[in-house]
């Protein structure tokens, strides 16, 4: 029988969505448990206790981690040698629409002006899709349901190159304080440094796929990640913005070179419910949900 590769992808994507909205990745859960065990503020402990309990209930009973099942964001790494030609937008749209009814997801997608809801989490430009080419013949699909609480406080800044590191730290700390409890801290901060305006924000989003605790391979960037992680947790914003030690679980930076006259900086907040799921699909249709 001939392989219906699109059917395989539909199946994979449905599973990714189902997994992502009902669980948090193990690295995130570990970090939240550590935060719960080491938080010093009484209210902070209460919030983290409920968060950890919530993850457990969702896992045991198959419930949703958060009622904001987000806006669907897909990042695809397509092997240059794949024999398949895929219209990802069409396949993902169908999968999201089905998942909205079957799981169910909250229908979040509306027209930006009329605010009329499409009812199935799809619409012009949605699901959001980014495709990059990589080596090999596998297709790697990443799914991130992005909640509005954290997305709404994300920001982009064109900094002055002469100030560089101090300015970067200042802007990030100021944004964290301004955002307060809105992005559901403890958050994960995705930072895009360099590139161009649009590339910086894409990097800030994409870097959220990397596990909590993993440092950038570049030692200078890794050092900045560690320094920012400590600095953000000294602000005292705390769990849910109610004060305490844990304001963020991690700070992750992806960087690109930039124009000699520019220093683009993008910040994409991720809530504690940092849901993501990935899968690798082989050319023969075999796949693995990671």
């Amino acid at each position: 029988m001939e392989l219906d590769f699109e059917e395989v992808l539909l199946d994979v994507v449905f599973k990714l969505i189902d997994k992502a909205v009902k669980t948090v990745p193990i690295d995130v859960e570990k970090a939240l448990i550590e935060a719960y065990e080491t938080e010093t503020s009484e209210i902070g402990v209460k919030m983290l206790e409920a968060i950890v309990e919530n993850i457990k209930i969702a896992r045991e009973e198959g419930g949703l981690i958060c009622q904001d099942t987000g806006i669907p964001v897909f990042i695809v790494e397509e092997g240059l040698e794949t024999p398949w030609r895929i219209d990802y937008h069409r396949v993902f749209t169908e999968a999201v629409s089905k998942a909205t009814v079957r799981i169910p997801l909250r229908p979040n997608v509306v027209h930006p002006l009329t605010r009329v809801n499409t009812g199935d989490n799809t619409g012009v430009g949605i699901p959001v899709l980014h495709v990059v080419k990589t080596d090999g013949s596998d297709i790697k699909i990443h799914f991130m349901p992005k909640g509005a609480g954290s997305e709404n406080v994300s920001s982009f800044h064109m900094l002055t190159p002469v100030k560089s590191v101090e300015a970067i730290k200042n802007v990030i700390l100021s944004r964290v304080v301004e955002a307060g409890g809105m992005p559901c801290p403890p958050t994960i901060l995705g930072v895009g440094l360099g590139g161009t305006a649009e590339e910086a924000m894409l990097m800030a989003k994409r870097v959220l796929l990397r596990p909590v605790g993993e440092r950038n391979a570049n030692p200078e960037i890794a050092k900045l990640e560690s320094e920012l992680f400590e600095a953000v947790n000294k602000t005292g914003i705390g769990p849910m913005g109610l004060g305490g030690r844990w304001t963020c679980l991690d700070v992750k930076i992806e960087y690109a070179y930039c124009h000699t006259a520019s220093l683009p900086l993008a910040i994409n907040f991720q809530c504690w419910a940092a849901r993501r799921a990935s899968a690798i699909v082989k050319p023969n249709g075999y796949y693995e949900v990671l």
Partner: protein, 194 residues
């Protein structure tokens, strides 16, 4: 201190910031669009189709599923209240609501609004919908479905909805602005040390 609140509740002056509360009885969900519409109803002297007397208003867009003849809540939790900040004063004034439930808080300018209308703001942990939805007994009624499912008004019967922290009380205290103010003072010191 952990407190149980039974709806309807008219006087919230005994609640203080930092109290942990659980709510039992009816709550009404409302977000941006429903809040806007409710205010418009009152401003044109039209009574809204549901009663808000003594009932907490929950900034929340639940995940619901149609079941024979009704609805079931699959997940619910607080949404960011700051989006409704510009509507807060008119909302409290026309509705008479005394308990607002949501996440993320309001800015310092709203502290006085809560004080003036003798109302409080309570915050459950954001995103903890698997935990919070356990408290939903049933969907009592649904209104304004034309706004879309998340923005519609859901009247829910809940049992011990919580935990929630009283984060803005009717005496002029606001945990969010206290925390933010402290953090703003710390930032220059943190920057000086790294």
């Amino acid at each position: 201190m952990s407190l149980d609140i039974t709806v309807p509740v008219e006087d919230v002056s005994s609640l203080r910031v930092g109290n942990i509360v659980y709510i039992t009885g009816l709550v009404v969900t409302m977000r941006d669009q429903a809040t806007k519409r409710l205010i418009a109803f009152f401003q044109s002297n039209v009574k809204p189709p549901f009663n808000l007397y003594g009932i907490p208003v929950f900034h929340c867009g639940p995940v619901v599923r149609r079941i024979d003849g009704g609805w079931r809540v699959e997940a619910l939790g607080p949404t960011t209240s700051m989006r409704m900040e510009d509507l807060l004063e008119s909302f409290l004034e026309v509705s008479g609501v005394k308990i607002v439930i949501g996440k993320g808080g309001f800015s310092e300018k709203s502290t006085d609004v809560f004080k003036r209308f003798k109302a409080v703001y309570c915050s459950p942990p954001g995103g903890a919908s698997a935990l919070l939805s356990k408290s939903v007994r049933r969907v009592s009624e649904a209104y304004w479905l034309d706004l879309g499912l998340p923005e519609a008004v859901w009247i829910l019967e809940v049992y011990r909805l919580g935990p929630m922290v009283v984060t803005i009380d009717s005496h002029g205290a606001n945990i969010y602005s206290m925390v933010r103010e402290e953090a703003l003072k710390r930032v220059p010191k943190i920057l000086g040390n790294i």
